[in-house]
């Protein structure tokens, strides 16, 4: 009995020592469990993330003392901000009425949308600035930011609604010729029109209709359109000189494809897409995926269709991948089509050979207007020249079978470039240049094919 009691006293003594050691070490700064160490490292990571950003977007919800309201009939504190680009999204938590969002390196150069989410996980509003009497801009076009700008202060954010959903209107508009995002008025309107389809998603981001903001569910459902256009005629040309292409007054649509992406689980899926009932023309000639094309997940459209898509509900059946039925209420489609950027090319010919192509960018609905700054809108450009029966030349070189019979190593062309020197010296204008395709990805997530033929 005495031995058992002694044993227990020993146990108590050991446990007491252990307890004291535990308390001492924890007070000395030791982390309790590995999760404690991870917590500390998360703080370091978040500081690194903030420091790595060259640009912060800030603002507040209180201003002169008004509460952070969602809209007049509902009050909610803003707790999260979803930061959206055309090909990614993230959700930042905020803990006060002031916010400061770091814009990461890979977000600069893209349009960035902000969706404010309240403590009920409802959309308080999507950032919206006025571009014109008929156009609003729902993404900040960080495709062009003035040198040295490290902060954009949107100041007081006011919440309200418009026809398409909840909006968040900043007191300060940073987009303007002499502002942090130095877009001319024409460029600002153009950006507003080009991004209307995405803007409509951001205003009501519950595409799977389950009552929860998609971004909170770690989802971003996006729809876009890819166009192929016949824009005009190549000049007859001559042996020596510079010759400009003729641009048709009316665009001819070669075809389009709907481009539906589901982030972050980006996988190639083949999902059925139902067009709005008002689109009565032939469509659906292709439903599938292109494994080789990183820009496309699901697409559908008339291969040879000549009628552009219309506004309305595009329904994607994503039940097969557990995402339910996705309803995209597309608006501003005609604006997007009208505002497609095209190149107005000039061909430099010497000795009957094409030496160089130079160009300016124009908005299709404003050919007489000033040239558009391609660096603000165009990500990359590829030029493909076809002979009578096959491809004669690619600006990007290419590998078989995607290669011209006048092949070379190739080069990349960016939106800021205004000319391309032909990489071979034997590209005959008369024999090898029957059609030219300019294919570009804009900085707003759209791909456009612009064709000229003789």
């Amino acid at each position: 009995m005495k031995k058992i009691l002694l044993n227990k006293y020993n146990t108590v003594a050991v446990l007491s020592v252990a307890f004291l050691v535990y308390c001492g070490l924890s007070f000395a700064g030791f982390n309790l469990g590995m999760t404690g160490a991870v917590k500390n490292t998360i703080k370091i990571l978040e500081t690194n993330k903030r420091n790595q950003s060259n640009l912060n977007i800030k603002g507040n919800f209180t201003g002169t003392g008004s509460s952070s309201v969602r809209k007049s009939d509902a009050v909610g504190t803003i707790k999260k901000i979803a930061v959206i680009t055309y090909n990614w999204f993230r959700v930042e938590n905020i803990n006060s009425t002031d916010f400061s969002i770091p814009i990461m390196t890979n977000e600069i150069g893209k349009p960035v949308g902000l969706v404010f989410i309240d403590d009920q996980d409802k959309v308080a509003g999507c950032l919206q600035i006025v571009a014109s009497s008929t156009d609003t801009l729902n993404l900040l076009p960080l495709t062009k930011v003035k040198d040295g700008v490290t902060q954009i202060d949107l100041q007081l954010i006011s919440f309200s609604t418009d026809t398409y959903g909840n909006i968040a209107v900043p007191e300060y508009d940073p987009v303007g010729a002499d502002k942090e995002i130095p877009f001319s008025q024409d460029e600002k309107i153009l950006a507003a029109k080009i991004t209307k389809v995405l803007g409509s998603i951001l205003k009501d981001p519950d595409i799977n209709n389950n009552g929860i903001v998609d971004f909170i569910e770690n989802r971003f459902f996006k729809i876009g359109f890819r166009y192929g256009l016949n824009v005009g005629q190549l000049p007859a040309g001559g042996t020596d000189g510079t010759y400009s292409a003729t641009i048709d007054p009316v665009v001819t649509l070669n075809g389009f494809r709907i481009d539906c992406k589901i982030f972050p689980d980006y996988v190639n899926n083949s999902l059925p897409i139902t067009f709005p009932a008002t689109y009565t023309w032939t469509h659906g000639s292709y439903t599938g995926h292109e494994n080789s094309d990183s820009l496309t997940q699901n697409f559908d459209g008339p291969g040879e269709g000549t009628v552009p898509p219309v506004d309305g509900e595009y329904i994607v059946d994503a039940n097969s991948i557990g995402c339910g039925t996705l309803t995209f209420n597309v608006v501003g489609q005609q604006d997007a089509v009208d505002s497609i950027l095209i190149l107005a090319p000039t061909f430099h010919i010497s000795g009957g050979k094409l030496q160089k192509i130079s160009w300016v960018w124009k908005a299709y609905n404003n050919l007489a207007g000033d040239p558009i700054d391609g660096s603000a809108f165009v990500d990359n450009l590829a030029i493909q020249i076809s002979g009578e029966t096959s491809t004669s030349y690619n600006s990007y070189g290419g590998v078989p079978p995607d290669v011209g019979y006048h092949n070379w190593a190739g080069t990349t062309i960016s939106g800021s470039d205004t000319e391309h020197v032909i990489g071979v010296n034997n590209l005959d204008w008369a024999a090898d240049c029957h059609g030219i395709l300019f294919r570009y990805d804009d900085k707003f997530g759209n791909r456009v094919n612009v064709s000229f033929r003789k």
């Binding site: 050991v14 030791f30 469990g33 999760t35 160490a37 490292t41 978040e46 993330k49």
Partner: protein, 162 residues
């Protein structure tokens, strides 16, 4: 701290009902133990009398740590009730912070002791430096390395002893 006090209270309660028989002997091989540590649990298996492999999981709000430990046991002054443990721990980490979400790894060398409370139950305390590496899921160039000091407290319940 409240949780720690509760844990201690539970241990003391268990002691009062325990016969106080030594857990560790020279024949540990094959023993299996289930551990409750702050903040998670583990399962260990004695591969030999002095070596135990351990799988562990720890979780807190928006943090998950899953890992493995190698525990090397040695006696303290021939007293089998207290064992010195030294070893290595390697973990995989996933996390979601205020402005970052991602994953990473952690590695720790530790030193501590395990005290047998009964023939089935023991208390373990160990500590050591840990290197934690985390990476943002969305921005692969956003990373953090940190040298942290970790303190582990837990109780082990041995299902089977030879």
């Amino acid at each position: 701290m409240k949780r720690i006090c509760c844990l201690i209270l539970i241990i003391f309660t268990l002691i009062s009902f325990s016969p106080g028989i030594i857990v560790f002997g020279e024949d540990n091989k094959g023993k299996i133990g289930i551990g409750l540590n702050y903040p998670g649990f583990s399962v260990r298996y004695f591969k030999s009398d002095r070596t135990a492999w351990e799988a562990k999981l720890q979780t807190e709000t928006n943090i998950l740590v899953v890992g493995a430990r190698l525990n090397k046991y040695s006696n303290l002054r021939s007293n089998n009730k207290i064992q010195i443990i030294k070893g290595l721990e390697v973990d995989l980490v996933s996390f979601k912070g205020d402005t970052a979400e991602g994953y990473g790894m952690a590695a720790e060398v530790f030193l501590g002791g395990e005290y047998s409370i009964s023939n089935k139950l023991s208390l373990q305390l160990d500590f050591g430096p840990a290197l934690v590496f985390l990476m943002d899921r969305d921005y692969k160039d956003v990373k953090a390395n940190s040298l942290e000091f970790v303190l582990n407290l837990g109780i082990n319940w041995y299902l089977r002893g030879k």
